[in-house]
Amino acid sequence: MTEKITPVREKILSNIRIQRFTPGKDRSPYFDNFKMEVETGMTILEVLRHIKNTQDSSLTFRAFCRSSICGSCALRVNNKTVLACSTQLMPILKDFGKATVTITPMANLPIIRDLVVDIDPVIEKLAKMHPYLVENKDRVPETLEQESLMSQEELDAFGLMTDCILCGSCYSACSAVKADSNYAGPLTIAKAYRFSVDPRDDFRGMRFQAAMDQGLWSCVQCRKCIKVCPKDTRPADSIRDMRRISIDAGIHDSPGSRRAKAYTDDVERIGQVNKPMLPVIVHGTKGWAAIEAAEAGLRKHGMEPTRQVCSLPGQSGAAKIYAKVREIEGKKKGEKT
């Protein structure tokens, strides 16, 4: 039996607070407030178009496909980066419990005008990552008639990142980019990973170098990029993966890779991370000063410092798990070769 769906169409008289700025004309960004009735189902893009058509034709924003595939309409609503065309306003008004919503351009990028930013810095950083396939002669056939076949498992290794539409949302949300504008940002490293694990590619080493140069170990894993990605590509996971394959390829000489080794080995050995010794493990002899300072701090409070924390009861079980995983991963690697 078919059931008739009657959507509840609510209306809320809202105040749309939009950041305005024309470089060269305005001294600094400012806000304009626009009153309008927001209806259930209305997207941010529809709201912006309505304001432009009925209230202020000078309001500037960028949009094209209206189908969340061109990636041109990314901006921030109440500080969260979203695609204007695929985000409805009503749920946001309800979530924040306010009739006012604030719309600002993407963060971490220069403003061209109002809600339009210059995306070139992201593209320039991406270009340095060699985001293209360099033929792997073992996998790519010599004639066009033959296909380069790939297993589902091989495709799954990078499949998510092929959905990236270069909208820059992750770059706008990135905590590390905010603090260090030289850092490559989530999508660029994730793209480098995507090409590096493609079996048709033979250029991995150069991408490791490019990623290391642009801050492979500067990602803080705050997971904000995963939250905002409109295509669910999970950039932060790809950054972890890029770190992993770089370590697997023998690049052990960074503080981050030494931390990864210490955490992994310590949990197998004692069930927890032996934090007292981390400064020396990560930074070499330079770390001794930090250890001694920490120990002096403990003594001040009458606590005797240790350089070896105790083994946790779960350690023996975890060690069995490590052994089994090693067996499986070893088997897998064996299958590939």
């Binding site: 109440n78 969260k80 946001i92 979530d95 924040f96 419990g97 905590s175 590390a176 905010k178 603090a179 260090d180 850092y183 801050g215 170990w217 500067s218 803080v220 894993q221 705050c222 997971r223 904000k224 995963i226 939250k227 972890r240 770190r243 992993r244 370590i247 960074s254 503080p255 981050g256 931390r259 990864a260 080794k261 955490y263 992994t264 310590d266 949990v267 069930g271 927890q272 991370v273 934090k275 007292p276 981390l278 990560v282 920490a294 701090g297 403990l298 409070h301 606590m303 924390v309 946790l312 779960g314 350690q315 079980g317 975890a318 798990i321 490590y322 052994a323 089994k324 995983v325 991963e329």
Partner: protein, 296 residues
Amino acid sequence: MADKQYDDGYMHYAFYSGCCFQGADARFFEILEKVFDKVDIKIHLIDDAVCCGAGVIEERSELTSLAINARNMAAAEKMGLPFYTPCSTCFNVISNVQKRLGEDKKLFKQVNEILAEDDMEYKGECKITHTLWMLAQDVGLEKLKERVTNPLNGLRVASYYGCHTRNPGDIQNYESSDNPTSLEDILKVLGVEIVDYDTRNDCCGYHLVWPNNKLSLKMTGDVLKGAQKKDVDLMVTSCPLCFKNLDGLQNKAVAATGGDFQLPVLFLPELVGLACGMSPQEMKLEWHGVPVNVRL
């Protein structure tokens, strides 16, 4: 939430300590126990657990991270109690593992085959929670209010969640991740005045302490600066790792960002304890890197 096996008026939780409470931070075990006792909660240490790997183990082997954390949850399932961790990163990593295994039957099966090596089984039934929602939802604001004997009226507080109970949005379903209010709800019950500030949603940079110390300090300094500009008395965070950076590394972080100030930072359970009548000595506030020299 109270489990059937206990009938003592207390809510019981399996307590996953993680490995952030080493060294000087070991004091937080005792502090958590005391504070929870004030609101009728008992925590039982999951003895048979290991460190969650903080996502770092995934940089060597994703399957290892999935398996050891499935084992951590299996240990809590054996106890028949909800899985409580005070650490936001443990919460994030373990919730993510639970989600992955819930969505991927093949992976669920594979992980259980690995766990069988240790005679363990992960059933996927375990409910994971954090201090925020234990206090705001399980205890509830009304009961918490009843237990506040020393309301901290007049104290101007900057609240700070950190990232790992909020990102990605589906990591928890206790409240909105874009506009969470549990921390502020708890703080209001304690009597303090919440002050909004620009850097409230920024990351403190804790997980860069080892890979990129300079950047980590800058991020911490920026967060503190935002709060300090609003002339707050102190900052309160629900994450013990954020606390390490915001308090323990504050002097270096403030210097790294060209500032010159000290802003006391409290770990949420400490402020709850103080509001429930415990003394600064019981909360061991003298252990803080930045002196907590405000009227409490």
